[in-house]
């Protein structure tokens, strides 16, 4: 439904988004993941015509966003919940959007109820909203026009655990009814639970793409185990002697071998193991590794 085609956005010599292409399909939640400054928000702004692309294009269901008549009725957008006049009440903000889209006034009350903002809260001015309340209002704003496509930039930002769970089920149901959802995040755990498909972006480039199983399967070639023993030094020497990569990790070792291989080496080296488990990469490891060139920590550590 959303087709990003060789999208590039440069600021001077710096490419915030660099030749990015992907698709989001109806009935699926697509997670857009990347570290800070990876280019997620920039890509999403281009999608809705707020940022002109340098090269490439984005279409939604084959139509450019700017060519969609009354786009709020087709595409729900939440880019920055705080980008509203701070002196307006929450209800007034929704009301203006409903007026613009040509929706009846009771749609506002419906949406306030959906996102769990009480009538008294809805009459407060935005400057007096808590972060989570503002976020709920932003979600209500995106859902107002009953769109087929949702583009949400960090929708869980500031939501409490109950709120995050609520949002998860809301988006899941929305996708099950055939809607297309693209949501960005830098919180992997959050996306892992809802996204049917994930797009990993680092430094403006897509570094991996696929569903969770496919992403993890791609790492199978490099088995790792975590092992702790009564004599890590002897075990490490034996493992290295057997040709496996060994690195200290915590109280034990991380070994580039299967648990069975580690067990056999330990047996022959006569070292007592106290802990041995599969250290296969989690999605988080994968994420950190793939985006590591873009990680501020990694840059700081290696330079």
């Amino acid at each position: 439904m959303i087709t990003v085609d060789h999208l590039t956005k440069t600021y001077g010599a710096f490419a915030a988004v660099d030749d990015v292409s992907f698709q989001c399909r109806p009935g699926r939640v697509t997670g857009f993941l990347g570290p800070n400054g990876a280019g997620k928000s920039t890509t999403m702004r281009v999608m809705v015509g707020l940022t002109p692309p340098t090269r490439g294009s984005v279409t939604i269901g084959g139509v450019k966003y700017a060519d969609i008549p009354n786009p709020g009725r087709h595409v729900g957008v939440l880019l920055d919940a705080s980008a509203q006049h701070k002196g307006r009440t929450g209800r007034e903000i929704l009301r203006l959007a409903a007026m613009t889209m040509g929706l009846p006034g009771q749609r506002v009350d419906q949406m306030l109820e959906v996102v769990g903002l009480t009538p008294t809260e809805s009459k407060r001015r935005l400057r007096n909203y808590s972060l989570g309340m503002m976020q709920r209002l932003g979600i209500a704003h995106a859902l107002l026009g009953d769109p087929q496509v949702l583009i949400l930039d960090e929708p869980a930002n500031g939501l409490d655990p109950a709120g995050i769970r609520w949002m998860r089920s809301l988006l899941k149901e929305y996708a099950d009814r055939g809607g297309t959802v693209l949501l960005s995040s830098h919180l992997l755990n959050e996306v892992e639970l809802i996204a049917d498909e994930m797009i990993l972006i680092g430094q403006g480039r897509i570094v991996a793409h696929g569903d969770k199983a496919a992403l993890l399967a791609s790492r199978r070639g490099t088995a790792t185990s975590l092992v702790t023993s009564l004599d890590n030094h002897a075990l490490g020497t034996a493992l290295a002697g057997a040709g496996f990569g060994v690195q200290p990790r915590g109280h034990g070792l991380q070994v580039g071998a299967t648990t069975e291989q580690v067990g056999r080496v330990a047996l022959s080296a006569q070292v007592v193991l106290t802990d041995l488990r599969d250290g296969g990469a989690t999605l988080e490891d994968l994420f950190l590794e793939l985006t590591s060139t873009a990680q501020r920590d990694a840059i700081g550590a290696t330079s």
């Binding site: 060789h6 139509v63 969609i68 957008v77 889209m101 570094v207 991996a208």
Partner: protein
Amino acid sequence: MTSTPLTPGTPPPPPPPPPPGAAQAPMLNVSDTSGIPFWRLVLVEFRKSYDTRAGMWLLIAIGILVGLVEAFVLIMSLVHSSQVYLTDFGFIGTGLGSLLLPVLAVMLVTTEWSQRSAMVSFALEPRRIKIVMAKWLVAIVWVLVTLVVMWAFAVVMTAIAAVAQPDLTSWSGTSGSLPAFLPTVLDQILTMTIGFALGALLLNTPAAIVVFFLYWYLLPGVLAAIGAIRPWLAHALEWINFRVAMSPFLDGSIHTGEQWGKILVSAFLWIALPLGFGIWRILRAEVK
């Protein structure tokens, strides 16, 4: 779906091939949706002009200021038993209006940027020019409302004077005639539009207001000073002095093509040029 993992440093994978069936990728059916009618955008922008405390208070302040100044003039006239003309109040009102309405126009444009609500406005209506035009129309509505309120004040003040000192009160103008109504309205709209244009050009409330006041207070003096150097300079500068160029139009003494030419040239400089660049900037700006 496949994924292509990377080791840091290697070039990224080619973009994933489009999934099977990409050719018949789901289409968005927009055929039975009509665009947002312009009048609805005008209504929305009108509502936005008074639904915040800042907007509401600016409007109230304009009303209060006009009322206060006119009441002050009335009291002074009564105290000094001087002649009171209906048009005097009208002039005071329009004078204040030319200062305050441009500020209102500036804020109609710039608050979208300072509050960042342009992100929402332009996402809901990507044809940005329609929103800009709707805002301008709203500013015109407020010019008209203000003029009506001003004249209502003027009538009330004159009526009070007529009761207090019937012999010294005149329901006509100083020169015996009311100032031409349409030129005044047009002048107020054009002056407001200068504020609107500066707001669009600078997209910053204080900067636009400061530049407007520089234009309003400083420019005539500067032009006069430059003009004092050489008579031919003074002559040439008349072509870029919009306020001076407008005065024969306002008092009905406009006759020559040169006078009209001066209005057109100076209006182009002070209205069309900044407005054109301002709109161009708004249409192209990255909104975030």
